[in-house]
Subunit: 469 residues, 2 copies
């Protein structure tokens, strides 16, 4: 009860402050700029450019894991698109990553009942011996249960974690579920297991298994690691429930080749600011995808949004005062290569990054804006929040946001950041699967999302606010 | 307006007739029988036996196309289950079918953009030459468009139909869509095409292509035929829209071996009637499935329902007056083998089949009962309809139903029939795909459906109504 009272009081205080701040300050935008914002909103809501861009990269390029043919095509595609869309500076920043070959995979239940399973290797896994591994399954409900197993107890066994990821609008089930993917092979190996399998980190019941990065640890044996499609994991659980030993067969001919370095590149483009060219409003997405599906939602949507916003800024009669920099990061999926390189190359100019936002999560509409800005800048943020409120976007009362994905490194380096939270309830149905294809995107939702990013970009670039203050 | 008035009038008349029939006739069930029905309803709604049976066949047998190892296991499974569940007569009726081997399949877009596609061979297709076929695509929106193509115009080409099946609660989109699957390869070959591909007959956007039978015609060249997963078909359409020639690669190593005969069998069990053992209430489902997924919705659900109903009838203190016959038909998917054989073997005892119902469609709850009975029997039907109305089942005003699937042959031979229409809006998301697995079934909906069938079986077997009159 006390908590509720405090909550009501704090909300009231917040409303009061909000009201006072609105009468205390004049608008940060001129009447003319406000008119531009209105037109911008109308035009962006009517434009399907971001959808056309996702359609283009998924259709003409397809999937694009770092260093693959698709990745090379994606880099060319992005450079050409930026130029065609009117970005006045376009460059690439090269990265290198050791080669990993996925190879083929096969998984079967051998006994007591025979089933061929839908399965995918986790990113970076070693292969099995050529003839595969045949071993009994030991079943754990979670990573914690696996951690609690006795050392050596899994010798000659395959460890299986059946944890079910929970769907949530903010994707909050991911963090819990993904720990098993990251650490499962290490923990299983420490207990003596010869392989590690898991229920996919995904909220669907499709027979498309979810890949994603896994880790190894120095001095711990590298064992093969794979994810079963969720219906197949459930089948395995049902067979295990019968209490008989379950014999499993797993064959993966993946290869880690640390001495072979693959090349890739982030692609970066700018609409140079008309008054403060050295001040950057950064918009990010990642150019790479996993090597399954066509990378439509991860992160084709992000690419479509930030390119369409850049294109619109380039088309304005006069470019916004600050520079709009669109960063399409290389190799996010396989280890944040593009963003790490960016931080190296630009370490002396972090202060020039006035504010930034990335898109790398969500499938539906943006419903909340989360901020990380200076206390004084909150007034301007509230003004902006009122502009996007009719689009269904609420302002989060917290002010401790981290930009999504790659751009989180810029936030950590002090860049004021916005995290636009989009509806991700069904995002993890498709994430990192063959099912990540164009048809999963709702063009109308994408228009709303693109409009929010466009309004943000213009507002941040035109208003002259110091978001650090 | 006139139509609406007529509709209101006819509904009112129907209600009046219904009312009159209820006061004119005493109940067809005794008070004791009515009490049995009440208990039956309560117990069936609380029982998960039908779900346990689907779980059992999908887990312990898996898929079971006619003549495969899975099919052999399914026959043993069904015989053992019927015996264990208390059926007092259990027998098999053998069938034979020519061998078809699915083999592997590969489909790619070669140019202008490279994509590996999710694809499945249609049931019965011939293979391609060993090296596959590489040819340009000619695109048609529908089978009618393909029919309108000029003879010889598709020489050296692959014909592609991109028709999108429409979802509907009663599955009514299937009939329109499936014509392309049945006849596409014939029509394409008549126009000179070297292969035929199509968008799957399915309402999903999963990358699980839908198989199902296709046909060839005497004196028309047999060309290979395959279905693309819907996202892949849409990708192909988007590439074709760009107007450049699209080169396609298709390799299928399927085999038709008409001289090798595969054996299978329908499995039939009875709870012999306690008063009229020669009068049969027939409940049907099909035992076979396609060779993908685990055959949960097609037709594991039907198997679970009719076996659970038989088991319940066997457990009653006294068996119902008439015989309950549960028929698990062989080879429905590949050509109605079980039902054709049944009609041959039982051609002189069709009159003994008092009434029957099959389950071979739907994923949600039964919402309507459709009938095909004599005019006098409609009174009893209305009484039964009142019993199942609280379960959400309406009585169709028509009286021209055909029993589902296999059992339609018995309807056509004059057997009074019931067709319980269940919600099938999402049925064709999974039908004939790898995605037809246990997790697609809602256990609570299945309880309702099983209860309706149990009430029907008891009512029909106990009431003594002549449904032909």
């Amino acid at each position: 009860m006390l908590l509720r009272l405090l909550k009501i009081l704090s909300t009231s205080c917040f409303s009061l402050m909000f009201f006072l701040s609105n009468i205390a300050h004049a608008s940060v935008l001129s009447a003319q700029e406000q008119a531009v914002m209105k037109t911008l909103q109308q035009e962006m809501l009517a434009s399907d450019l971001s959808y056309q861009l996702v359609e283009s990269i998924t259709t003409e390029v397809g999937n694009r894991r770092l260093g693959t043919e698709g990745d090379k095509k994606a880099i060319k595609w992005a450079v050409a698109k930026m130029k065609a869309l009117g970005f006045d500076k376009v460059w690439t920043e090269e990265v290198e990553s050791p080669q990993w070959l996925r190879g083929d995979i096969e998984a079967k239940i051998i006994s007591p009942y025979q089933h061929d399973l839908a399965v995918i290797g986790l990113g970076g896994t070693v292969g099995t011996p050529k003839q595969g591994i045949q071993a009994p399954i030991v079943h754990f409900n979670s990573l914690d249960d696996l951690k609690a197993a006795k050392k050596g107890s899994l010798k000659g066994k395959i460890a299986f974690i059946s944890y079910r990821m929970k769907p949530a609008i903010d994707g909050s089930g991911y963090g819990v579920a993904v720990a098993a993917r990251s650490q499962g092979a290490i923990v299983a190996a420490e207990k003596g297991a010869s392989a590690f399998i898991m229920r996919s980190v995904g909220t669907d019941n499709n027979r498309s298994a979810h890949t994603g990065m896994m880790r190894y640890k120095e001095h711990v044996k590298k064992i093969p690691a794979a994810a079963l499609a969720n219906p197949d994991a459930d089948l395995l659980v049902n067979i295990l429930k019968r209490g008989e030993p379950v014999n499993f067969y797993l064959k993966i001919n993946a290869q880690r080749n640390p001495s072979i370095m693959l090349k890739s590149a982030s692609v970066i483009g700018e609409i140079t600011g008309s008054e403060y060219p050295d001040e950057i409003v950064a918009l990010g997405a990642h150019l790479d995808s996993w090597d399954v599906g066509t990378g439509a939602i991860d992160d084709g949507m992000g690419i479509g949004i930030v390119l369409a916003v850049g294109a619109k800024m380039a088309q304005l009669p006069k470019a916004p005062k600050r520079t709009i920099r669109v960063i399409l990061y290389a190799g996010e999926e396989v280890g944040f290569y593009g963003t790490k390189k960016y931080m190296q190359l630009h370490k002396n100019e972090i202060h020039k990054h006035i504010i930034g936002a990335e898109w790398d999560f969500g499938l539906g509409r943006i419903y909340e804006m989360k901020t990380f800005v200076g206390a004084s800048a909150l007034n301007a943020i509230r003004e902006f929040a009122q502009i996007i409120a009719p689009l269904g976007v609420a302002l989060s009362p917290d002010n401790n946001a981290v930009a999504q994905s790659d751009m989180s490194l810029l936030t950590k380096a002090g860049m004021p950041s916005i995290n636009f939270a989009a509806d991700g309830l069904r995002y993890f149905d498709y994430h990192h699967t063959e099912n990540d294809t164009l048809d999963k995107i709702n063009p109308e939702d994408l228009k709303q999302n693109t409009t929010v990013y466009a309004l943000f970009a213009y507002f941040a670039a035109q208003s002259g606010i110091d978001f650090r203050q």
